[in-house]
Amino acid sequence: MSLMPKFLIRQSYFRLVASLSGVFLVFQGLVWVLVSSIIEETLWEANIAELYSLTLELERGHLHDHGGDVLWGVGDNIDPSIRRAFMDGKCEGSFLPGFVHVFELYEAVFHVEDEDLQFEDSDEEEGSLAWGEIFEFAYEGESYIGEMSSDGQTLQYVAVKIDHQRERIEAVSAGIFFTTIVTFVSLVAISYVIALSSQRKVTKIQTVLSLLSDGNLSARCDLPPNNDDLSSIARRLDDALERLEVVTEQTRLFGKNLAHDLRTPLARLRASLEGSEKRHDDLTAALTEVDRIASIIDAMMRIARLQSEVSAASVTPLSLSSFAQRLYETYEPVLPERKTLLLEVDGDWVIRADEVLLEQAIANLLQNAIVHGGDYITLFTSNGVIGISDDGPGVLEDQFDEIIKPSVRLDPSRGEDGAGLGLAFVKAVADHHGARLVVEALTPRGIKFSLQFD
């Protein structure tokens, strides 16, 4: 399983939580930046204040003992290594204008024996030079901020260790960072679990829907009772299927009984016609009519059955070329003298189909072509396609959709009985197989019916 299964990315729940988590991450990032800078600022100001008070204490000559956290020195007592550290440190803002090269000056001060050196090019008031520069520097592995100042004669410095402050800022940052990550990971994990559980429901619903589209009305989601939206959709789907199944079953039984109720009197009628002592042409014609009615009932039942249920049981791989060849052998001799059946086989394609139904459909198309079509009828097969074309008068293009509707059989203008029903049957067979019935006009004349399988 890959880290992020595909189904998760398609899941709307998961998408929602993932995008919210993303927003949360960005927001936490901003909080982190803000909080860190506020803490740093506050600490900095506190340090500055402390430095000033220390400097004051130093100037007044009574610097209290602050333990190891404070470094200080005055005049010649200044340790060269401290000086070095100051010089390698970072100057944090100048309190005196134009005092950029402060250390060069201090260098000068330290190296010149004359302690009375005056800063003549300074803007400061002569003799009372009291200036400060704040430095951040490292000394013996610890971080300090310090201030160096002078009254114009003596140089002094004082510095405070800030390592524990840094640690505090880092702890706060780490805290924010850690809680962010933990929250993010738990959000993703929780949403993953929720998504998995809802995915199971979605998968179940999808399975039921696809079974339904295959005509299986007995499929149910059967999700455990739960109040979330998916469970409620599934429950409604189950309810609807329940009702649909009942109605379909009633319709099927009704059709069955109707067929039975029609066929038995027909059988009786046929029996009395056949049993009649006086046989003459009228009786023969009546018998033919009985058979015709029976075959129309048959055709209607077949269409109804095909439309109401999809049993894939008799669907097997079928080689279109040998199937077409067999149909050709069966039906070619049947054609009236003046008509010719041609066979066009383009390659050998194997489809999955119910052979008996497909033969019935092609036989219907062929019968249509014999009755309504031209003298040359073609049985053709190519890439997943099988059909019948003829060079007859055809049908007007705007009637293509109409002629395959079962209702067209009611159109008295079609004359020959069963013709419209035949095409409706072909359409039902196509639908049953998930294939398309395509009607095309041929030039200069003729019509082509193809069953196109995927």
């Binding site: 066929r263 046929r270 069966t330 008996v356 069963g418």
Partner: protein, 226 residues
Amino acid sequence: MARILLLEDDAQLRKWVAKGLGEKGHTVDTFFSGAHALTAATQETYDLLILDRMVPDVDGLKLLKTLRAMGDKTAVLLVTALSGADERVEGFEAGCDDYMVKPFAFIELLARVGMLLGRSSEKASGTAARLAAGELSIDLLSRECFRQGQKIRLTSTEFKLLEYLMRNPKRLVTRTMLLEKVWGLNFDPTTSVVETHISRLRSKIDNPFEHKMIETLRGDGYVFDA
């Protein structure tokens, strides 16, 4: 001739079938209730049972299943108003020997009854590589046909048709039966498939000769007689 049990709930049809079969010399016991028919079928010996599939109380299919479960192997012709392929399969799975859809011509019933009775009295000619009838013979392996020593070229359909006729000599065979057995079609392709192929077959095996082996009976049936 034969003793036949007929289960049919429609009085008129029952009378018609019984009368027709009686005229052919069969003894017919008629029943309109499945329960009574079942009792009779278990107590008496019949050569053939003709069962209507949909009758009140015990229907034909249930009766058939019960009998088969009891080990009864009497030939059964199921007569029904249900024409679907599934229902046909259901009938054969229950153990019927033949299946006929209402309404039917009497000749159809007669032909099927004849075939079923013949089946139970005669052993089929088996899987011999050669079938012979009078001056006509066919080789089932090389798919060749000879009459009076002359080789006759047949298409595969014509060969199958002839083979079926030769295996059922002197017996009425109807158009519907040929469609079912030779072409494997349980629907009427609405074209004259059977008539055309019979006529082609005739033009090859009968027309050049004096004795005609394939006879047409009342339009819908054929009898092969060497």
